[in-house]
Symmetry: C2
Subunit: 206 residues, 2 copies
């Protein structure tokens, strides 16, 4: 067990090591780094984190993180509000935003339907999505869920609920990743990738 000669140091190491993926040794390295910084810098670090947790909001419309009632995407008039990309987590929003290839809006489900984990439709932001599609006359719903059975179940469930509504439902393409090697791809991915083959012109024109 790590022995400290300062209770203040020990408490800080313990706090850091409660973060996911941070062991005691890494925590100690981080704390000793902070110890070398100016008091002002460390208090800025600490205040920024506390303030984020205290003041951050979740968008009333899409459940993404927000600084106000609506997130910066929902309140941006240059985004196509009638196209909704449905994702599991906030992290997925950031990943897709970082591609700079999408100009619609999002809806963060907060997970996928997974009866084994006790997650049913009621535990997710599903009702709000259905309500939104209805009220906003959404034109397209793009599912960008992880390719799992639970993800597929969720898509199926939502699709059923929207039957008869005039909304296009798509999912992002599955296939071999750029730079990925065929022989290492799993069979399902490779199989789907073959089924969903595209004309070469389309590929080249990308």
């Amino acid at each position: 067990m790590m022995q400290f000669s300062s209770a203040l140091l020990e408490a800080s190491v313990n706090e850091f090591s409660r973060l996911p993926g941070i062991g005691k040794k890494t925590a100690l390295r981080l704390v000793l780094h902070l110890l070398k910084q100016d008091v002002g810098e460390v208090s800025q670090f600490s205040e920024t984190i506390a303030r984020m947790r205290r003041e951050i909001k979740f968008c009333k419309r899409c459940a993404n993180v927000a600084d106000g009632d609506l997130c910066s995407i929902c309140s941006n008039e240059f985004r196509i509000q009638k196209i909704i990309c449905v994702v599991e987590t906030i992290r997925d929003v950031i990943a897709i935003e970082s591609t700079q290839q999408f100009n619609g809006t999002y809806h963060v489900l907060g997970g996928v339907i997974s009866p084994l984990d006790g997650i049913g439709p009621d535990q997710l932001n599903l009702e709000s999505l259905l309500h939104r599609v209805e009220k906003e006359e959404t034109q397209e719903l793009i599912f960008a869920l992880n390719p799992t059975i639970q993800g597929d179940t969720t898509i199926y469930y939502i699709q059923k609920k929207l039957q008869g509504k005039d909304v296009k439902i798509t999912t992002i393409a599955r296939g071999i990743a750029f730079g990925g090697e065929l022989e290492y791809a799993d069979e399902l991915t490779l199989g789907r990738s073959l089924q969903n083959r595209q004309p070469v012109e389309k590929y080249v024109n990308r």
Copy 2:
């Protein structure tokens, strides 16, 4: 570049990613984890860190981290105060304390003599060590510095300064680590390890 839809989130990710070894993706993972914790827990995290930096002291005697004027080792009457283990950093104190094999005190140099990096004796807690040895009638000085040319230079320098004084000077043993394989040991370590070979009885009795 990572795109955020909340300035509060972005600021927190930036703060975390300024820590050594923490990239943007790891920072995001940590921040999203904190976002899921209670406000109280996050404010405890942030206050513990800020308080540590604001209130932590350095031991007036050995330069180790301390909660008061003296560290908990220097103020512990059960520790042998006349034996001093000389180390480079606070981290080394924690590493040795964690072995629970040492019952003396420490002296944290804050580095080693390294002219190329502009670190001379004056940049280190060296004067205070010499003063301490004189005043406290230290019996033994154990050097636990890293096995580098700079470490050896520092030992040599201090030894010179203490010439004629009645203090035993030793260094921790160098050798093949437990579990280490001979063929991967560097030549210097293996050579020293041969020179400093020990009687088998001593080894077995450990």
